[in-house]
């Protein structure tokens, strides 16, 4: 089949679909966790019960994860409506209303996709979309990720077809002029990497896509692969054509079973249409892609460690140079890029380098994709032009902090990144400004922290992670992260001395300098940035044995205010997992501090009208005998751990 024929067939399938009503249900991992599969089943049951033939299509994620399960209903002569939080109970109503009848049930809708429908908002005009620019994510949630024809009908693979008619050098020039930088976090110019690999001597050459998205709190690559995997495959094929590779690998982490499944199907469909194989689109150029699964090691995200994993070895990094472009997989020249880097390539070929480089800032072009989680209202995913500020992302797109709490920090880049304080909220986000702030773009996970989060605890959390994930090759990383973690443990437990803060700082600088790869080289970032911007919190832990956010269990106690306790209510007594809350019906309830494990259940269940449970820090704020009991309890549990 010629590409024209493939395209015509795809377009006619897509047009046929538009001529009938159909239902899109977001069943990416986030949708599934929110119950999308039950919603899907409910639609299928309701439709068959009424004997209606309407297609239900599983799609990926639109990024509005806070409103999952998401459903879109499309009708040929009417406007498309997107509904949020669609549980199975709402399904009969939507079928009755908008499938059978003409009532679009706008009271349940997030908005319409066509606009001009009176009270229902036009989705692209929602405040958040004024700041967003969806390029990589433009099809996510609108097309069937396991139907290649949907991708092709919406412009897919026309860039490949165009690229195969051009010289590799022209494509390299185009990518270079676009000023695309690596989306894995480090930001190396992509065109330059392609040029190095193109001119490197060696045969065979390989193309590798890094989808080992290990940063806790980041899930952009998962969403791309679950929602629109073909664009990544297309980008890889173009890369392979440029460097003359015959074999490629997509390395996906095993924790993403749905992404693995959808990529497998996508590869098979591309092969069936001759877009992958020995003679791609009759051009004489052949390329195959194999799926390689990660086995759960964070360090595998580092490029040289990733290649070791593909080869079946322990995933440990090796010194660079030589860079993968010269000597990569099995010592051969290898083009290794992140999922989103490859996904940007077809766009650049389609719309041109000038268009791409008109978006963004001086040194960082195109868009940045972030996942937004933590203490923010609209959790989910967003794609914005480079140079957007943190304030726009948190407040205009994210809808601000829940429960009118105050913003404390934003953590970017996971265990390799840092915490950005309120004073830097107006920083335009790009590779260079983040590096100046002591952080890095990283993979793009943004976690918002509010007044209830302890910055020392956050640093300790990341160090706990990097200590466990250090591959053990470099001494400074293997032992240095452990030492830093121990100092942080002492600080959060109130056992640290003032000079420990200086020691921590020195150690952090040494670990940075003495590690081969980015895991060790960036592991101190969470400590260095919190020390730089939140030193007062460290000092409160060390000097006053106080946790300002009232998080650290050794420095914080739960206490029931006797004059506020309602007596006849027993919520706290009945729910306490360690039976630490005492008091008969009609008596004031008291927490046995020796037994209390700081789980916070009593505070959660105490009815808001009484509001009798409070958190105290330092522990010396408790009545003296309670404080002594608390100390005894902490000591006992510390022994159990040993």
């Amino acid at each position: 089949m010629t590409f024209q024929e493939i395209q015509n067939r795809a377009k006619s399938e897509w047009e046929n679909l538009q001529n009938n009503a159909y239902i899109l249900i977001g069943t990416a991992t986030c949708g599934r966790a929110a119950g999308a599969l039950s919603t899907l089943e409910a639609f299928q049951q309701e439709l068959s019960r009424r004997n209606i033939e309407v297609k239900t299509i599983q799609v990926g994620c639109m990024g509005l994860c806070h409103a999952e399960p998401l459903v879109t209903i499309s009708k040929p002569d009417s406007f498309r409506v997107v509904y949020g939080n669609v549980t199975s109970e709402l399904v009969p109503r939507l079928v009755e209303g908008y499938i059978v009848g003409d009532d679009p049930c706008l009271e349940l809708a997030l908005g319409t996709l066509e606009g001009g429908q009176g009270e229902a908002p036009y989705i692209p005009e929602l405040p958040r979309f004024e700041h967003e620019l969806r390029l990589v994510f433009r099809r996510c949630g609108y097309i069937d990720p396991v139907n290649i024809n949907h991708y092709i009908a919406n412009g897919g693979y026309s860039s490949l077809e165009k690229a195969l008619r051009r010289q590799p050098e022209e494509i390299i020039e185009e990518v270079k002029n676009s000023e695309l930088r690596g989306r894995g976090g480090a930001g190396f110019p992509t065109g330059l990497k392609w040029e190095f690999c193109h001119s490197a001597k060696g045969d065979p050459k390989y193309v590798v896509c890094n989808a080992d998205e290990g940063d806790p709190g980041a899930f952009m690559d998962r969403v791309v692969l679950e929602s629109d995997p073909q664009q990544v495959i297309e980008g890889m094929i173009i890369g392979a054509y440029v460097i003359s590779a015959k074999q490629g690998y997509i390395y996906v982490r095993v924790e993403y079973p749905l992404a693995v499944e959808r990529v497998k199907i996508a590869l098979k469909q591309a092969e069936e249409l001759g877009l992958l194989g020995d003679n791609i689109l009759e051009s004489g150029f052949g390329f195959h892609i194999e799926l390689a699964m990660g086995a759960g090691a964070f360090v595998s995200g580092e490029e040289t460690a990733l290649m070791a994993a593909v080869e079946g070895e322990m995933s440990t990094p090796r010194p660079r140079p030589p860079y993968p472009a010269q000597a990569g997989l099995w010592g051969k020249p290898t083009l290794l890029n992140n999922v989103k880097t490859f996904a940007n390539v077809p766009l650049i070929i389609e719309r041109g380098a000038d268009w791409f480089s008109s978006i963004g800032t001086e040194g960082s072009k195109g868009t940045a994709v972030f996942t937004l989680a933590g203490k923010v209202n609209n959790k989910g995913l967003t794609e914005v032009p480079m140079g957007t500020t943190f304030r726009e992302i948190i407040y205009d797109i994210g809808g601000g902090i829940p429960e009118s709490k105050s913003f404390k920090a934003i953590q970017i880049g996971g265990p390799s990144g840092g915490c950005i304080p309120a004073s830097l909220l107006d920083t335009p986000i790009d590779y260079d400004s983040l590096r100046q702030a002591g952080s890095m773009m990283g993979s793009g996970g943004l976690i918002v922290m509010d007044e209830d989060n302890c910055m020392v605890d956050a640093a300790r959390f990341f160090l706990d992670f990097t200590t466990k994930e250090s591959c053990g090759k470099c001494t400074m990383c293997r032992l240095g992260t452990l030492q830093m973690h121990q100092i942080l443990e002492a600080i959060v437990a109130g056992r640290a001395e003032p000079e420990d803060l200086n020691l921590l700082f020195e150690l952090a600088e040494d670990v940075k300098a003495g590690s081969l790869c980015a895991l060790g080289g960036t592991a101190p970032n969470p400590i260095l940035t919190t020390l730089r911007y939140f030193r007062d919190e460290y000092e409160a832990h060390v000097m006053e044995k106080r946790c300002p956010a009232k998080v650290c269990p050794e420095l914080t106690a739960y206490y029931i205010l006797p004059d506020k306790c309602e007596r006849s209510c027993e919520h706290c007594v009945l729910t306490c997992p360690t039976e630490a809350v005492k008091g008969e019906k009609g008596e004031i309830k008291v927490i046995d501090q020796e037994k209390c494990v700081n789980c916070g259940t009593c505070l959660d269940v105490c009815p808001p009208e009484y509001d009798a449970v409070v958190k105290l820090s330092p522990i010396s704020q408790l009545p003296p005998e309670d404080a002594a009991a608390k100390e005894r309890g902490i000591a006992q549990r510390a022994q159990q751990v040993v």
Binding site: A33, E255, G296, A297, M314, F461, V605
Partner: protein, 170 residues
């Protein structure tokens, strides 16, 4: 020790792979899916098949977090300890489950019903904190809800009860 049936299955799995070093990790993954863990003799078989030293197989298997050397419980409980889950109290969930199940993280109960594990991030950060029992994701946990969430799995296995009476409290 593994039985004859497992041995036959292993032989079949091995025959579908090429005798190349790059087959090692996919092989370990597939065998673990079949058996639930990696028994010592399976690793020896794989070493023989790929003609590499046993220590290499063991080295690779222990390097990656994904591989396990003891069987899992009938209900495998995982608690997400990603950043968003940590900030939302993931550690409290893990502690509550340790108390409730009477095992520490990484262990399997003696009766083989439950095992408990921490995972780095399952990418459902907007539902934090989450726990996963088998394949089912339980969103927005509290220590109390986590204990409650185990009840159906307990009833499914042996009807054992300890804290169910508390369930009416909310």
């Amino acid at each position: 020790m593994i039985g004859t049936q497992e041995k036959e299955q292993l032989a079949e799995t091995l025959s579908s792979y090429g005798k190349e070093r790059k087959s090692l990790i996919p092989l370990l993954e597939e065998v673990q899916v079949d058996l639930g863990y990696l028994p010592k003799e399976v690793m020896q078989e794989i070493a023989t098949f790929l003609a590499i030293p046993e220590v290499e197989v063991y080295g690779v298997a222990t390097f990656y977090n994904q591989f396990r050397f003891v069987p899992l419980g009938k209900h495998h409980v995982r608690v997400c300890m990603g950043t968003a889950c940590h900030l939302a109290g993931g550690k409290l969930i893990l502690e509550a489950l340790e108390r409730e199940l009477g095992i520490k993280v990484g262990e399997t109960r003696e009766d083989g019903e439950f095992s408990l594990e921490r995972v780095a991030c399952v990418g459902c950060c907007m539902l934090a904190p989450v726990m996963i029992v088998g394949d089912g994701i339980h969103p927005r946990m509290t220590p109390f809800k986590a204990e409650e969430a185990l009840i159906p799995y307990r009833q499914k296995s042996d009807g054992a009860s300890s804290s169910e009476e508390q369930a009416g409290a909310q």
